[in-house]
Symmetry: C2
DNA sequence: CTATTTTCATAACGGTCACTATTGAAATCG
DNA sequence: CGATTTCAATAGTGACCGTTATGAAAATAG
């Protein structure tokens, strides 16, 4: 008869919580960007020493990749939720934009989207990281495109709608909102921007109105 | 009787052309961003040594400020030209967007806008530079706003038009196009995006059509 | 207990960062 | 000419970069 205790691993247990450490590292990368965040910044904020960081995450780049996944599952999850939960394509898109305006200006974390602004131009040595982040941006646009294509298939949108162009348009809006949020724009200002953007969707502003 | 020769300065003349040096430095900053461009990268591309760079420009940051002005007077000048030369607000905006699509994908220089993407998040030591670049972004939005307000005053646009929101919308579009261009988007893709964006302007896509 | 394994903290690694002291060459001035 | 001024090249500055060797500390296994 075996006891099913959760079988502690062999050696000395680590003294920090990996999830909390990722949260703290995320804030640093979010605020300073990938290149701007030094390992000293990270270990200082995470409350661990450099060898502990390297034992747990391999390298600064490895930690960053873990943080990106952590971001997508946390503060960045609202996008995927909006696109899958809303019944109509237009409703989904509008919810993404409105929630972006709110999330990008929250005071509990740096303003703007972490993926949009963490690493754009960079030294050649960091190009692989920049490429990864660029692929995440492309993935978001692709998510938009799929949702719009689904809306076209469902008859919500005219069949001649260019889903790719619409998706790239939305990607640009989100990207631009992220930068403006970082530059100090308020939620109200971003919502005004969203209202203009939704006009490109045809029909008036706001949610589809009954008539 | 004085001879009016162009009075060469006293000591040994410098052996490099400052304008050409700024051009070369601009390409490096454009490609690698402010933090990603090292002084070694810059001197290597400019064909001068570090002491020459510091004698002529004071510091890396000083050189960057000169390069930003050089950019605005060169590759970035089309925006100001479009906004002042076009007779209507809508025409001016559409020209800015269409020319952005073309300029951002030129093969003679890195894709995207240099001001949009050179330095967003960064180490705290470089925050003054980031603030400067942010103020340039804000200046572009303000230029948009003024042009739209002028269009409202001229009766081209409905008096209830929110010029600030429209301007922020356009700033976001340009910012987003810049990132997508850097990520590899083609001119045709960006023009498709522009067409969608112009729909937010009311009345179908494209230039105002006679009817 | 001893042996083993893993994490911890200290201290340091070579490399690159932005930047400059020094020196000699190249120009103009008197 | 000699004196002066400015530039350019060499060679380095200290500081910080990401990363790691070392050894003590803390847990399990036998």
């Amino acid at each position: 008869m075996k006891i099913v205790t959760p079988t502690r691993p062999r050696g000395r247990p680590r003294e920090f919580d990996e999830t909390k450490a990722l949260d703290l590292a995320m804030m640093v990368f979010w605020r300073l960007g990938y290149e701007g965040a030094s390992v000293a910044d990270l270990t200082g904020a995470m409350g661990i020493t450099a060898p502990s960081l390297y034992a747990a995450f391999g390298s600064k780049e490895g930690l960053y990749r873990r943080v990106l996944a952590h971001y997508q599952a946390g503060p960045g999850a609202f996008t995927w939720a909006a696109l899958t939960e809303e019944p109509t394509a237009r409703g989904a898109i509008e919810r993404v934009l409105r929630e972006s305006a709110r999330v990008f200006t929250r005071r509990k974390h740096p303003h703007g989207c972490m993926i949009s602004t963490a690493i754009l131009r960079c030294a050649e040595a960091h190009q692989p990281v920049a490429d990864l982040v660029a692929s995440l941006r492309a993935g978001a646009v692709e998510l938009f495109r799929e949702r719009i294509a689904r809306g076209i298939a469902a008859g919500e949108l005219p069949p001649e709608t260019d889903a790719g162009a619409m998706a790239r348009f939305l990607g640009a809006i989100v990207q631009g909102m992220s930068v403006q949020a970082q530059d100090g724009a308020s939620e109200a200002e971003l919502l005004g921007l969203v209202e203009v953007a939704m006009r490109a969707w045809g029909g008036g502003a706001g949610r589809p109105r009954a008539r």
